[in-house]
């Protein structure tokens, strides 16, 4: 009979000491090991130096943190405490931090919040800093407008910006006998009807008219492309004035859905993101998309339409080269910042050309995002030219023209805009369903805007 010990070997003094040493080393060097991961926001917090508090919303470009690490390597006296929050909670969180006077230096500023935050004196105007004029001169008109407060001062530098164009499936259009989607709404209708008649698609065009905050991009784009405005410089409704193209555009929309049936009724429950996904899967043949969507269509590996989607200028009532709509979110400086010069140095590198004038972070971000860059000149970078060529299928003229003529949604900075937007969307949907006339929808929407503005 063999004796078998029921316990394992007893740890001796040496193994205990070695284990303790390993634990001590892990505790001491663990954080450093993590900090060496330059894509981890924690790596931005360096030992010593001036600490800058930075806020952003999540799903930031993966190039941001490594880019800021490069910036910090060149500025050893600085360190960054980076914190992010989901987009949906970003506004509430920032307001809580502003009210609580949490230390803040640099923060991302949604275009919808800039006016409210400047009105509350939470953002510091950037006019006093060297280089601002050059940066703003390089930005698109929409980006400049988005970064300017109601007092005319610049409060942020543009970071993300895009114009909306008409994306179309070249293969489907060619099969219907056309090369381009047309320069005006009549030509667009002709082509979409041809696609339908050829049996290529029952409802080839998507207008994405879901009643949801921030939607109706197609309507805004077509209005701007037709030389119209939703509001004038004084914030007065312009879309109900004589000569506004709004009525003709909505008449076209109503006919497109109910008469020509080139737009499906389900478009009333589609936002532009759903349209984009369905275009990527080959369901939607033409729709109003932000420029960066071209990357998803033509470059991303899981696209069903790789190499088939082009983006054209938005057809207006008569022409297509007058304007389009876009968005622009920026990064600004907190009024409470105790290190404004250092904050500007960071801001300039994050959303501008940086000390070396190379726009390194902006270029990296644009490569990462497939565009969304508010500075047209940045697209001169050979790597971005290569990307542009790939996403525009070798013809980037319309893409660049869109960046030049893009304008922000005017009226978006008012307190009452979200409430009016919901109301207007409901009215327009009722008109599209023929539950009321287009004229009634326009009049009611304009009256509501005046009522809210006067309240």
């Amino acid at each position: 009979m063999t004796f078998r010990p029921t316990r394992g070997p007893t740890p001796n003094r040496r193994s205990v000491l070695m284990g303790a040493s390993a634990l001590t080393a892990a505790a001491a060097f663990g954080p450093r090991a993590f900090a060496l991961d330059t894509s981890d926001p924690a790596s931005l917090k360096r030992d010593g130096g001036t600490l800058l508090n930075m806020r952003a919303w999540e799903r930031y470009p993966s190039s941001d943190i490594p880019g800021l690490n490069v910036f910090l390597d060149a500025h050893p006296g600085l360190s960054i405490e980076w914190s992010s929050a989901p987009w949906a909670r970003y506004r509430d969180r920032m307001i809580a931090e502003f009210i609580a006077e949490t230390p803040l230096d640099v923060l991302q500023v949604p275009e919808t919040e800039l006016a409210a935050w400047t009105d509350s004196e939470w953002l510091h105007p950037l006019e006093e800093f060297d280089g601002l004029d050059e940066i703003m001169a390089a930005a698109t008109p929409a980006a400049r407008e988005a970064c300017t407060g109601l007092d005319g001062k610049v409060y942020s530098l543009p970071v993300f910006s895009d114009a909306f164009g008409l994306a179309y499936n070249t293969e489907t259009l060619n099969q219907a006998g056309f090369d381009t989607p047309g320069k005006n709404l009549d030509e667009l209708r002709e082509r979409m009807v041809a696609i339908k008649k050829a049996g290529l698609d029952d409802f080839p065009l998507s207008l994405a008219m879901k009643k949801q905050p921030g939607q109706f991009w197609s309507l805004w784009a077509t209005l701007y492309a037709s030389g119209g405005n939703m509001f004038d410089e004084n914030g007065e409704p312009a879309f109900d004035k004589p000569g506004s193209p709004m009525k003709h555009i909505l008449d076209w929309y109503v006919a497109a859905i109910n008469e020509w049936k080139i737009v499906g009724m389900e478009d009333l429950q589609r936002d532009w993101g759903t349209s984009r996904t369905q275009m990527r899967s080959g369901v939607v043949k033409a729709g109003y998309m932000a420029q960066y969507a071209l990357t998803e269509f033509n470059v991303k590996p899981d696209s069903a339409v790789t190499g088939k989607i082009k983006m054209a200028l938005v057809p207006g009532l008569d022409t297509n080269d007058v304007g389009t709509v876009g968005y622009a979110h920026g990064a600004g400086m907190a009024a409470i910042s105790a290190n404004k010069d250092d904050a500007w140095t960071l801001l300039n590198a994050y959303a501008g050309p940086g000390d070396d004038g190379k726009w390194a972070l902006t270029v990296a971000r644009a490569l990462d995002q497939g565009g969304r860059c508010p500075f047209p000149q940045v697209y001169d970078d050979p790597r971005l030219q290569e990307l542009l060529s790939a996403i525009t299928l070798g013809d980037s003229a319309d893409f660049q023209k869109l960046s030049e003529i893009v304008r922000a949604k005017r009226g978006i900075k008012t307190t009452w805009y979200p409430e009016w937007e919901q109301f207007m969307m409901g009215q327009v949907q009722d008109a599209l369903l023929k539950n009321q006339s287009v004229e009634a929808a326009i009049t009611a929407s304009a009256d509501e805007a005046r009522k809210l503005a006067g309240a």
């Binding site: 307001i95 509350s120 429950q269 307190t415 979200p418 409901g426 009722d430 369903l433 539950n435």
Partner: protein, 302 residues
């Protein structure tokens, strides 16, 4: 002697009870009472996060604004239709399902487990499931309806006011029927067999047994179900968020959706909280009505 008196003490000890309950009461005050009171306080102010420094006491003006707006009354009508439809169908189908699951038959255990699945699905996911089911060009429901000849061509169910609200009701009912079935099933299993035996001796048929024995016995369970389902129906915004966004037009704009967009889209926290309180008061009124209607019937049944 004192110990003996303590041991023999039969009177309640209010002071000791308060002391022992202090931590729980403190937590309740902090986590429940304070937010409720603060929410009401906010509802008495003009407070919009787009003008965050303006915080002005306006008394009951927010409530007056709400009650005088056509938007509120339209939403109230839509809410009433949605609530009556979803609560009615949920309770009827849930009760029928519970009666089925209460009978002894092969496969009952499997069905009991399967029937729970919709309840386990979060409302937003439920909305996404139904979004695909109801999709206008490739939706499963269109395929089924066309296959059996109910429709000639695919329909965009969520884009027409006539079908969007019923579609929301169906999505809501599918999600909540299992809960009702479980509660009713639990109540059914407590009905004494003697009652049915007596009814049989008296010559009651199956319908009379249901209406005069089963249903009165279910009164308290139905009361619970009605109150919870009313609260659920009045608070529903998640499936609306996913499926319709309150459209087309305003055809699916219910009070909870109006509360949501007022608070989180318009960032009008003053009016948003006033909406929330209005819904709470409505729920309380309906709950009192249910209790008066059903509680006594339940007591008499026992």
């Amino acid at each position: 002697m004192a110990r003996k008196r303590w041991a023999a003490q039969t009177e309640p000890q209010p002071f000791l009870a308060f002391v022992l309950n202090t931590p729980a009461v403190g937590l309740l005050l902090l986590l429940v009472v304070y937010p409720i009171v603060y929410s009401f306080w906010l509802s008495l102010h003009a407070y919009n996060l787009r003008k965050p420094r303006q915080f002005e006491f306006i008394g009951l003006d927010n409530y007056a604004d709400i009650l005088s707006s056509g938007q509120f009354w339209h939403a109230a009508r839509v809410t009433a239709v949605f609530s009556v439809g979803s609560i009615g169908l949920t309770v009827v189908l849930g009760t029928l399902l519970a009666l089925l699951l209460n009978e002894k038959w092969p496969g009952r255990g499997v069905l009991r487990a399967v029937a729970l699945i919709p309840w386990a699905i979060p409302p937003v996911v439920n909305g996404l499931v139904w979004q695909w089911m109801l999709e206008g060009r490739h939706g499963l429901l269109n395929y089924i309806f066309q296959s059996i000849g109910l429709i000639d061509s695919y329909q965009a169910w969520l884009s027409y006011p006539e079908t969007a609200l019923p579609a929301l009701v169906i999505a809501q009912v599918w999600n909540h029927v299992p809960f009702v079935a479980i509660v009713i099933l639990a109540a059914l299993q407590t009905v004494p067999d003697e009652l049915y035996d007596s009814a049989l001796v008296d010559g009651a048929n199956i319908f009379r047994r249901f209406f005069f024995v089963t249903l009165p016995w279910l009164s308290h369970a139905l009361l619970l179900v009605l109150i919870t389902q009313t609260m659920v129906a009045l608070r529903t915004f998640d499936i609306i968020y996913v499926l319709t966004g309150g459209g087309p037009g305003d055809s699916t704009t219910v009070l909870a959706w109006l509360t949501y967009i007022t608070t989180f889209s318009y960032t009008d926290f003053g009016k948003g909280n006033a909406y929330a309180y209005t819904i709470a008061v409505l729920t309380m009124i309906l709950s009192v009505f249910y209790i008066r209607l059903l509680w006594k019937r339940g007591e008499m049944a026992k």
